[in-house]
C-alpha cells in the first residue's frame, strides 16, 4: 500500500476536440486546443514550477514562477495562462528562466517562516517543493524589514502579523504562512460556489479574509474544505494533520452519507485516518466534497459507539453484554420460537440504504431463503419508492436517466422539491457552476431554498407552490406546453405511444388544468407558471432534478410520472444535458432498491410472482421461494399491532426516528417478541430491541455503494472493525445459525452471485470496479462499460408511456383547528436522523432543529425568534424553537428532523403515497402556539430512552 499521489496538471482539462501539436523541450506534444502550455508540458512528463496554479481552478497568472520561453516570441510568458499554438517551440528551462524563478522564490521565502521541520505541511508543501525545484540556496533580504511572519519585530508589536484562526473545528488558518496565491479564494468561488473568501487589502497588505473580515466559523463558509485542499502551504490545514502528521498510505473509498457518492482517498497512518481527500478521478465528485464526507467521520470513535453484542429478555431490563455466540444464538432461537408460535409470516427484516449492496442483498436473501417469506423492506420505502414505481411505469427502469456530468450541457435546469445545495452539496456546486455559466433556472418549492438567490445565482422563476400541489403544478405546466404548441411531436411519435400521448394531451388541455384555473390551488400566479413552462419547453436542453419534495406525498408516484411526461412531451430525454434525475437521499438508496430490498421484487426489479425469475434464484439458492409479495414497513407495523407480526431484524436503520407517526411505530415495536437491531449506536429503535448487534462503519469493511446516477463504486476497508465483523459477516452468522451454510469469505463473492442472478448487473465485479473505478448499471453484454445516459435509442420498456396524472388534493387539509402546513427538509451539516453527524463537530453548525415560520404568521400568534413553540397535528404534538423568516410563505412552516428530542415524526401522520405507501412527510396540517418547553411526551420519551439504554454493570460516564 502506498500513498496515492495524483498528478496536478496545473490548469483544467480543455474539452475541445481540435488537436494542436507543438514542441516542448524538443519533444513533440499533441493536446486539445485551449490547453495551457503548463498542462501540455505536464501531460508529456515535464513539470514546470508553479505556485498559483492547480488544475481544479482556472489559471490566474500571479506568481510568475511558471515562466517559459517560446521561440520567436519576446519575453517570458507564464505557462499557466498561455495556451498552446500549432507548431510553436517551447523551452521550460534556460538560464534566464532559472534566474527569474530563483528571484521569485527568494521574495516569497523572505516573508515566510523557516520552521519547516515543525510545520504541519512538512512533506506536503508546494512552497518547500518549489524552493527545492528552483535550487534556492540563499535568501539575501533577511527578516528585519516589514513582514507577516513574526508577532513582534525587534520587540515592537508587528501590526502586519495576524494570529491563527482556529474557529473552524476541522481546519485552521495561519496567516503568517500565506503566500497570497489566491488558490483558496478561487476554489471557494469556482469549485464550491460559495464566495466566502476574498483577498482584502492591496499589495503588501493583501490577505485572505473570510466573509467581512470574520472568523471562518462566523462567515458564510460552509466548511467544504475546497480551500484547504487547494492551499499549497500550511496556511489552511486540516486539524487532524496538525495533530497526527502526514499520512503514509491511502485507499480510495466512497462517502457513506448522501446519494452523490463522492469518492475519497482515505489517507492513513497505520489504522488511523489522517484525513479524507476527495479523489480527482471520482466520476461523481471530480475532487470535491462537502463538510460531511470530508470531515464528519469522527463518529467511528465516538464514546457512544457500542462494540460488543448485548441482549435482554424484555425491553424494560438493562442490556447485558454477551459474547457474539451467545447473542447470535439468543437471536436465532427467539426468531425460531416466534415463527413456530405465530407462523412463517410473523417475522421479517428491514435493510438499510446506508449499508453496502452486498449487505442489503444478503439481508433479503436471509428473509426470502431463510425466513421463507418475502417480508423484507428498506428505508427507501420512506423516501424514493415512488421514483422506482413512477419511472418504471414511464420508461421501464426504476432509476434516473443521466450521469451528473450531464448537467454541464443543460441550458435550463428545473429543480422541483429538492434542495441540492444542502442535501446534495457537491452536485449542488456542479449545478451552480453551470448556472454561473448562464444556464437558466426554474425552482418549484414552497420554500425559498438557497439556489433561488445566492452569490452570482438568481433563479429565472421561483414557483412557491403550496405543499401538496406538485401534481397540479406539473399538469399546469403540461397544459401550457400542449396548448401553446410547444410539444415535440417528432420525438413523441418516434419514441412514445402516440395514442397514449393523445389521451394525455386531451387530459392536460382541459380548461380546469390551466394555470389560471389552478392559480388559487397552487398559490402561484398563472403568468409565472406559463413563463416557466415556456422556458422549460423552448430554452434548449432542459433537465429536471427532483427530490423528496416530490416523492414524499400522497400523490408522490403520480408526480414522478407527471415529471416523466413533461420530459417526454418536450423530447428532453436520451442525450446529454436533459433527463429526469431523482436526487437520492442516503448514499445507497439506489443500491438497496436494486438489490431486491422491496417485498415484491427480487434483485434487479424482477417481480417475485414471475416464475422465470424466481426459478433462477430458487435454483441458485436451493430453496423454494414464496411467490406472494411480503409485508411493507407500514404493514409490518399494522400487523404487529394486530399481534400477527412478532419478530424484526433491522440492519442500520433507525425506523423509530425516521418513520412517520412515532406513536404508532413505538406501539408496534413494543408488541414484538424479538427485535434485533444492528447498528453503531443505541439508536432510538434500540429502545425496543431485545438483541443489539454492533455494526461496522464504512471504513471498516469492503463492498460497494450505488449512487443517484446508478454508479457502482467501491468502499474499501482501511481499519479493522472495532466490533469484530463487517455487517455482511454478521448477517452470514445469523443465516448459518438457521442452517443456510453460506460460505462467503469476501464481499466480492457476493457481488459475483448478484451478477450471476441479475441481468442488469451481469458485467459487474470487484475486479472490474478496481480496474475502471466505477460503472453505471445496466452493465452487461449489451453495455459492457455501463450506461451513463439511458434511453438513447429507445426506452427500456419499448415505447415511452404517458400516464394521466389527475390531481387529487391530499386529506391533510388546513382548517380552523390546524391552519398551517408543516413541511420538512434537511440541512447541509447534518444527515438524515443525525445518528452519525450529531456525534461529530458538525453539530456546531446545527445544534437543534428549528421551526421556520413566516413573520406574518408569527406576529398573529405573538411568536418571536427563539421562542419555544408547541406544534400540534392530529397525530401528536412536539415543541421546537422558532425561527422567524420569509423563506417560507405565509401559511407554511418548515423544520428539519435531525435531532431525536425534536420528535418531528410525532406530528407527521400515516397518510402515504397511493402506490408505494411512501409517507407524506412533506405535508402535515398543524397548529402553532407558544409554549414553555418540551411536551410531556418529549419528557416521557427522554425518560424511556434513558431507562432502556441502561447497560448492566457499565459505569455511566455522564454521572
Amino acid at each position: 500500500m502506498t500513498l496515492i499521489k495524483e498528478t496536478d496538471y496545473g490548469t483544467p482539462e480543455s474539452k475541445s476536440e481540435k488537436m494542436i501539436t507543438l514542441t516542448i523541450d524538443g519533444k513533440s506534444v499533441t493536446v486539445p486546443e485551449g490547453t495551457s502550455i503548463m498542462r501540455a508540458a505536464m501531460e508529456s512528463g515535464t513539470e514546470i514550477p508553479k505556485l498559483c496554479a492547480t488544475d481544479s481552478i482556472k489559471a490566474f497568472g500571479s506568481c510568475r514562477l511558471c515562466v517559459i520561453e517560446v521561440e520567436g516570441r519576446f519575453g517570458t510568458p507564464a505557462s499557466c495562462t498561455t495556451p498552446v499554438a500549432p507548431g510553436i517551440s517551447v523551452k521550460t528551462q534556460t538560464p534566464r528562466l532559472a534566474a527569474i524563478r530563483k528571484g521569485v522564490m527568494e521574495l516569497y521565502i523572505s516573508d515566510h517562516p523557516l520552521d519547516c521541520l515543525t510545520c504541519a505541511a512538512n512533506g506536503d508543501c508546494e512552497l518547500q517543493d518549489m524552493a527545492g525545484a528552483v535550487g534556492l540556496r540563499d535568501v539575501r533580504y533577511g527578516y528585519d524589514g516589514a513582514n507577516h511572519v513574526f508577532a513582534r519585530n525587534s520587540g515592537e508589536a508587528n501590526f502586519d502579523w495576524k494570529p491563527k484562526d482556529e474557529s473552524n473545528p476541522y481546519f485552521s488558518y495561519d496567516p503568517s504562512k500565506c503566500i497570497v496565491c489566491n488558490r483558496c479564494v478561487r476554489a471557494c468561488e469556482e469549485v464550491q460556489g460559495t464566495f466566502a473568501l476574498t483577498i482584502s487589502g492591496r499589495g503588501f497588505d493583501s490577505r485572505v479574509s473570510a466573509g467581512m473580515d470574520e472568523a471562518f466559523f462566523e462567515s458564510e463558509c460552509v466548511s467544504c474544505g475546497a480551500c484547504v485542499q487547494a492551499c499549497p502551504t500550511a496556511t489552511l490545514t486540516e486539524k487532524s494533520v496538525i495533530a497526527i502528521g502526514q499520512p503514509e498510505h491511502s485507499e480510495v473509498t466512497t462517502c457513506a452519507y448522501c446519494g452523490v457518492g463522492c469518492t475519497f482517498k482515505a489517507e492513513m497512518r497505520g489504522e488511523e485516518v489522517v484525513r479524507l481527500v476527495p479523489w480527482k478521478d471520482g466520476k461523481a465528485n471530480h475532487g470535491h466534497s462537502c463538510i460531511k464526507g470530508r470531515f464528519a467521520y469522527g463518529y467511528a470513535h465516538h464514546g457512544d459507539r457500542i462494540t460488543e453484542p448485548m441482549i435482554r429478555e424484555t425491553i424494560d431490563q438493562p442490556w447485558r453484554v454477551v459474547s457474539w455466540d451467545e447473542a447470535l444464538d439468543f437471536a436465532t432461537s427467539r426468531m425460531k420460537a416466534v415463527q413456530e408460535k405465530y407462523g412463517r409470516n410473523s417475522i421479517g427484516a428491514i435493510s438499510s440504504s446506508r449499508c453496502t449492496n452486498e449487505e442489503t442483498y444478503l439481508v433479503q436473501k436471509l428473509v426470502r431463503a431463510g425466513y421463507g417469506n418475502n417480508n423484507i423492506d428498506t428505508c427507501a420505502r420512506v423516501c424514493h419508492s415512488p421514483t422506482g414505481y413512477g419511472l418504471n411505469q414511464a420508461f421501464g427502469t426504476s432509476a434516473g436517466t443521466q450521469d451528473f456530468d450531464s448537467v454541464d450541457d443543460a441550458d435550463v435546469i428545473l429543480v422541483i422539491g429538492a434542495n441540492p445545495t444542502d442535501a446534495h452539496p457537491v452536485f449542488g456546486s456542479r449545478m451552480k457552476k453551470r448556472l454561473r455559466e448562464g444556464a437558466k433556472l426554474i425552482v418549484i418549492d414552497p420554500r425559498r431554498i438557497d439556489l433561488v438567490r445566492s452569490p452570482h445565482i438568481q433563479s429565472d422563476y421561483h414557483l412557491p407552490l403550496k405543499p401538496g400541489t406538485n401534481v397540479a403544478m406539473v399538469t399546469a405546466l403540461a397544459h401550457v406546453i400542449v396548448m401553446e404548441g410547444l410539444a415535440n411531436e417528432t420525438f413523441i411519435r418516434s419514441r412514445c405511444d402516440w395514442e397514449e400521448y393523445q389521451d394525455w394531451a386531451t387530459f392536460v388541455s382541459r380548461p380546469e388544468n390551466s394555470p389560471e384555473a389552478l392559480a388559487a390551488t397552487l398559490g402561484v400566479s398563472a403568468a409565472d407558471v406559463r413563463g416557466a413552462a415556456r422556458l422549460y419547453a423552448t430554452g434548449g436542453n432542459a433537465a429536471i432534478y427532483y427530490g423528496l419534495g416530490v416523492t414524499e406525498h400522497a400523490q408522490g408516484s403520480t408526480a414522478v410520472m407527471g415529471i416523466a411526461n413533461l420530459a417526454m412531451a418536450t423530447g428532453n430525454l436520451g442525450r446529454r444535458g436533459v433527463g429526469v434525475n431523482p436526487l437520492r437521499g442516503q448514499n445507497n438508496v439506489q443500491g438497496s432498491c436494486d438489490m431486491g430490498s422491496f417485498p415484491h421484487e427480487l434483485p434487479g426489479y424482477q417481480h417475485i410472482s414471475g416464475d422465470k425469475a424466481r426459478a433462477v434464484f430458487e435454483e441458485d439458492w436451493g430453496v423454494k421461494l414464496d411467490r406472494e409479495p411480503g409485508l411493507r414497513i407500514p404493514s409490518m407495523f399494522d400487523s404487529a399491532i394486530e399481534g400477527l407480526f412478532k419478530g424484526l431484524y433491522v440492519q442500520g436503520e433507525d425506523i423509530l426516528q425516521s418513520d412517520p407517526d412515532t406513536r404508532h411505530v413505538s406501539a408496534a415495536l413494543a408488541n414484538m417478541e424479538c427485535v434485533i437491531v444492528q447498528d453503531l449506536f443505541l439508536v432510538e429503535t434500540a429502545n425496543y430491541a431485545h438483541v443489539f448487534l454492533p455494526g461496522a462503519t464504512f471504513l471498516e469493511k469492503d463492498g460497494t455503494f450505488t449512487n443517484a446516477e446508478r454508479r457502482i463504486q467501491r468502499i474499501r476497508k482501511v481499519m479493522s472493525p472495532k466490533n469484530g465483523y463487517g455487517d455482511w459477516e454478521i448477517t452470514q452468522l445469523l443465516a448459518n445459525r438457521l442452517g443456510m451454510n453460506w460460505t462467503y469469505t469476501n464481499p466480492s463473492e457476493i457481488m459475483d452471485e448478484i451478477a450471476r442472478l441479475t441481468p442488469s448487473f451481469s458485467g459487474v465485479s470487484f475486479e472490474k470496479l478496481d480496474r475502471d473505478g466505477s460503472v453505471q448499471w445496466p452493465c452487461n453484454d449489451e453495455a459492457p462499460n455501463g450506461m451513463p445516459i439511458m434511453h438513447v435509442e429507445g426506452f427500456a420498456r419499448g415505447k415511452g408511456k404517458f400516464v394521466i396524472t389527475e390531481y387529487v388534493p391530499t386529506d391533510e387539509k388546513v382548517g380552523p383547528r390546524f391552519p398551517l402546513l408543516l413541511t420538512t427538509g434537511r440541512i447541509l451539516s447534518q444527515y438524515n436522523v443525525g445518528a452519525q453527524t450529531r456525534r461529530t463537530e458538525n453539530s456546531r453548525w446545527h445544534e437543534e432543529d428549528l421551526l421556520e415560520i413566516h413573520p406574518h404568521d408569527a406576529e398573529e400568534r405573538g411568536v418571536h425568534d427563539g421562542d419555544w413553540l408547541k406544534v400540534q397535528s392530529r397525530a401528536g404534538e412536539t415543541t421546537l424553537r422558532a425561527k422567524v423568516t420569509d423563506r417560507v410563505a405565509p401559511g407554511v412552516v418548515y423544520t428539519t428532523f435531525h435531532h431525536p428530542m425534536t420528535q418531528a415524526n410525532v406530528i407527521t401522520t400515516d397518510n402515504s403515497d397511493w402506490a408505494t405507501n411512501c409517507p407524506e412527510y412533506k405535508v402535515t396540517a398543524v397548529q402553532i402556539s407558544t409554549s414553555n418547553g418540551p411536551t410531556e411526551w418529549q419528557e416521557r420519551y427522554r425518560e424511556l430512552s434513558e431507562t432502556s439504554r441502561r447497560i448492566a454493570g457499565a459505569v455511566d460516564a455522564a454521572e
Binding site: L631, E642, L644, I804, E806, D910
Partner: protein
C-alpha cells in the same frame, strides 16, 4: 381484526382507485386489480376481499370493482 386496519385499507384502496379511475376506462379497474396483486401482500388482500364480501362500506365504485376482480387468497 382491528377496525382501524380495514379503515386504512379502504382509504388506500380509494387513493389507488382515484389514480386508475383517471386512466382510460377500459383499463382502470383491471389496472387497479393488477396493482393490488403486484404490491399488496396476501393479508391486505384477504382483508379487503372480506370487507367487500360484507358490503365494502366506504369503497369507491372503481375500487369495489377492482377488488371483486381479485382471486381469493390461499
Amino acid at each position: 381484526m382491528s377496525h382501524n386496519s380495514v379503515e386504512k385499507l379502504v382509504k388506500m384502496a380509494n387513493q389507488i382507485g382515484a389514480f386508475f379511475g383517471a386512466q382510460k376506462a377500459s383499463q382502470s379497474a383491471a389496472g387497479m386489480a393488477e396493482h393490488l396483486m403486484k404490491f399488496w401482500d396476501p393479508r391486505m388482500r384477504a382483508l379487503i376481499i372480506e370487507h367487500v364480501a360484507h358490503g365494502g362500506t366506504g369503497l369507491d365504485p372503481i375500487a369495489l370493482e377492482a377488488v371483486k376482480k381479485l382471486p381469493p387468497v390461499k
